[in-house]
């Protein structure tokens, strides 16, 4: 195929930005349009539940690039503009105002949105934490140390709980899982982190279903549980996962399931590529369909799509990755390379859970699938090759024993 002249990227987060910059760095001289539905310049999300929520950082520190950088790299950045449809026949992106932007290749990087508790989408006092505006609203709601209920036992909820405690809020975390965070880190590490939160004064309600939010008619006043209890709350934080933003693609012919369904190359056919949280692709190593909501993955996929667009679908390379994610909670930094979910074995390599300083390997069906570290940044990196190679479990453990000796 011939080199494209116009690339339109829908979604101005890290994946979209990486795609735009990757194209330029790869020597692309055609038009690059980057469309973002938020009114803000592209910003970084991980600090929203960390430094920004805690009030330590301001808006400027969240920016991914200085305002002048877009013109300097000749990227036509359009913020506050929503794409409402994709016309794959005419190769045009349709915008809110009805105008159309034509493309030769389009990159879908529309990300995900936070899942809400049904019926609470616009209820004052109920917060999700996904966008900058969400974080600004939640930061304001946390002032004065109100009584908070966090619904959900994942990283976002745990980080919000941590920040809320630091700000002097009374915090209860509710999760339907028996051990908070166990989905992400397994039962043992989850129990260690749960204990950490309890020591810092977070009340944990585990293994309980949330029925809904109670209101005084105008705003949330508490959370109602399936066991009949009501937890009073001046603010409710809902951290129960996210959904891919794919509805705008309906009728476009782009294959959509849990995200935009791409092949190994992040290509969805017909000039359509996807990158970041919204992209579901076939992992070339495991053959599994994956969709990853991590910051690093977004940038890696954006760069990969840029390379593949420049190479053309026939020469495009499969996307391979070792996912990376981290979380800050109190004085612990938790880092994960790989995928811990579904692990059937965990081995502590160095340190111990009791010391809250350790590295661990996670495995499944005889293969290493992930390495997790708590406050051991450099030693953890040494374990990453086992994850990248999907090393045989016993061989990896033997190698580590030999290394320690």
């Amino acid at each position: 195929m011939s080199t494209p002249d116009r690339v339109v990227i829908v979604g101005a987060g890290p994946a979209g930005l990486a795609a735009a910059e990757g194209l330029r760095r790869g020597g692309f001289v055609g038009r690059v349009t980057l469309i973002g539905d938020e009114p803000h310049l592209p910003y970084d999300r991980p600090p929203l539940s960390k430094q920004f929520l805690a009030g330590e950082w301001d808006l400027g520190q969240l920016r991914l690039r200085q305002p002048e950088a877009y013109a300097a790299s000749d990227v036509d950045l359009r913020t506050g503009v929503t794409a409402t449809a994709l016309d794959t026949g005419n190769r045009e992106v349709v915008l809110t105002d009805g105008s159309r932007v034509s493309y030769d290749e389009v990159v879908i990087a529309t990300g995900v949105r936070a899942r809400a508790l049904p019926g609470t989408e616009h209820l004052p006092g109920v917060h999700v934490l996904r966008t900058l505006d969400d974080a600004i609203g939640l930061r304001a709601a946390m002032q004065g140390g109100p009584q908070l209920v966090v619904v959900g036992g994942g990283f976002i909820g745990a980080e919000a709980a941590y920040v809320a405690r630091e700000l002097g809020c009374e915090v209860t975390m509710v999760t339907d899982r028996l051990v908070p965070l166990a989905d992400a880190v397994g039962d043992d590490v989850g129990a260690t982190l749960t204990q950490l939160h309890q020591e810092h004064g977070v009340r944990i309600e585990a293994g309980v279903l949330v029925e809904g939010v109670v209101t005084d008619g105008s705003r949330a006043t508490g959370v109602c549980l399936a066991d009949g209890r009501t937890l009073p709350a001046e603010a409710v934080i809902v951290g129960i996962g996210a959904r891919p933003n794919v509805e705008w693609l309906s009728g476009s012919g782009v294959p959509v399931g849990d995200g935009v369904e791409c092949d190994e190359r992040l290509y969805a056919g017909n000039g359509v590529w996807a990158a970041g949280d919204v992209a579901s692709w076939t992992d070339p190593d495991s053959g599994e369909r994956l969709r990853i909501e991590h910051r690093t993955n977004a940038a890696e996929q954006g760069l990969a799509v840029a390379r593949n667009i420049l190479a053309g679908p026939d020469a495009a390379a499969p996307f391979r990755t070792v996912p990376y994610v981290w979380s800050d909670q109190y004085d612990l930094k938790i880092q994960i390379h790989g995928r811990t979910r579904g692990a059937d074995r965990v081995h502590i390599v160095e340190g111990s859970l009791e010391q809250r300083q350790f590295t661990a390997l996670y495995g499944r069906e005889g293969r290493v699938t992930a390495a997790l570290g708590v406050n051991m940044m450099r030693p953890l990196r040494a374990l990453r090759p086992f994850v990248a190679e999907r090393a045989d479990w016993d061989t990896a453990l033997a190698a580590l024993t030999a290394r320690a000796a």
């Binding site: 970084d44 880092q335 450099r378």
Partner: protein, 64 residues
Amino acid sequence: MNITIHEEKCCGAGQCVLVAPAVFDQRDEDGVVVLLDTTPADDQLDTVRNAAAVCPAAAIEVEA
């Protein structure tokens, strides 16, 4: 090439070291990025830019 490190943003992922081990390293105690080579040769530019791009904390800035 001019590289700026924002230590306060660094989350100690070590992704930069994986991409450009000749230019970046991590401190032992907290994993924070260390710039090994403040003036890398121009043929390192693409590698260094990739390292900056995959930094999950946007802690590395590169100017050509």
